[in-house]
């Protein structure tokens, strides 16, 4: 089962875990990205490309389902304003065994970073700055090329 959500509401990890586990999988790997408080960010704002975002995330989940024979793939991405410590993104991969779940989870978040049309703006001391893309993200995504 593929589950994609892009919405301003806080991410409910317990509910998402229960859905990912529902497919009788033996192994569920997850990744959660959070707004870090340690570098002075007060507010993070997430902008996205409606329609294209959901399509990109769905395509990513389908690729992971096929490549690792998953029972379930979940991608939940928050949009709009959020505060330090809040969850930005949650991905989950459910499989029969752990290697598939762990690899698929890493794939989902690595590829999301380069393939999904989201943009972050950080507000520090009242000043907003658009986050620059990281070189390392391209390399992390490229290691999954077949």
């Amino acid at each position: 089962m593929i589950r994609i959500r892009v919405e301003p509401a806080p991410i409910d990890v317990a509910a998402e875990m229960a859905l990912a586990e529902a497919g009788e999988a033996g192994a569920v790997a997850t990744f959660t990205g959070l707004v870090r408080a340690d570098d002075g960010v007060e507010t993070l704002e997430l902008e996205h490309y409606p329609g294209a975002t959901q399509a990109a995330l769905h395509a990513l989940a389908e690729q992971a389902m096929g490549r690792w024979g998953l029972h379930a793939a979940t991608v939940v991405h928050r949009v709009g304003p959020m505060r330090a410590g809040e969850r930005i993104v949650f991905v989950a991969a459910a499989a029969a065994h752990r290697a598939a779940a762990l690899d698929a989870c890493a794939y989902l978040i690595d590829r999301l970073k380069t393939d999904a049309p989201f943009w972050k703006r950080e507000v520090r001391a009242g000043v907003a700055t658009w986050v620059e893309a990281r070189q390392g993200d391209e390399a992390a995504a490229a290691r999954w090329s077949i």
Binding site: G51, V89, P117, W119
Partner: protein, 83 residues
């Protein structure tokens, strides 16, 4: 053709979207950026550094030399930073 702008491109252009009818010599995304920049300081500023721009044509992510022939929707934005 509907144009969409995101993140600092949207802020610099000063618009989130606009409807345009480019002339026939506009064949690629890069041509489209040149044509838009010719008549508007805001567009020229937003499109000045092409290395910082990415594009989608009808929601397909493509390089700036991709064709816009027959496109209904072209989006211009910085490299993505989600997750």
């Amino acid at each position: 053709m509907e144009l969409l702008y995101f993140a600092w491109v949207r802020e610099t252009v000063g618009l989130g979207h606009q409807q345009v009818t480019p002339p026939d010599h506009v064949a690629t995304v890069a041509d489209l950026l040149d044509w838009l920049a010719a008549d508007s300081d805001a567009h020229r500023a937003a499109f000045a550094d092409r290395a910082r721009l990415r594009a989608a044509v009808d929601q397909q992510f493509l390089p700036l030399d991709a064709s816009v022939a027959g496109a209904r929707e072209v989006a211009i934005f910085p490299p993505v930073t989600g997750g």
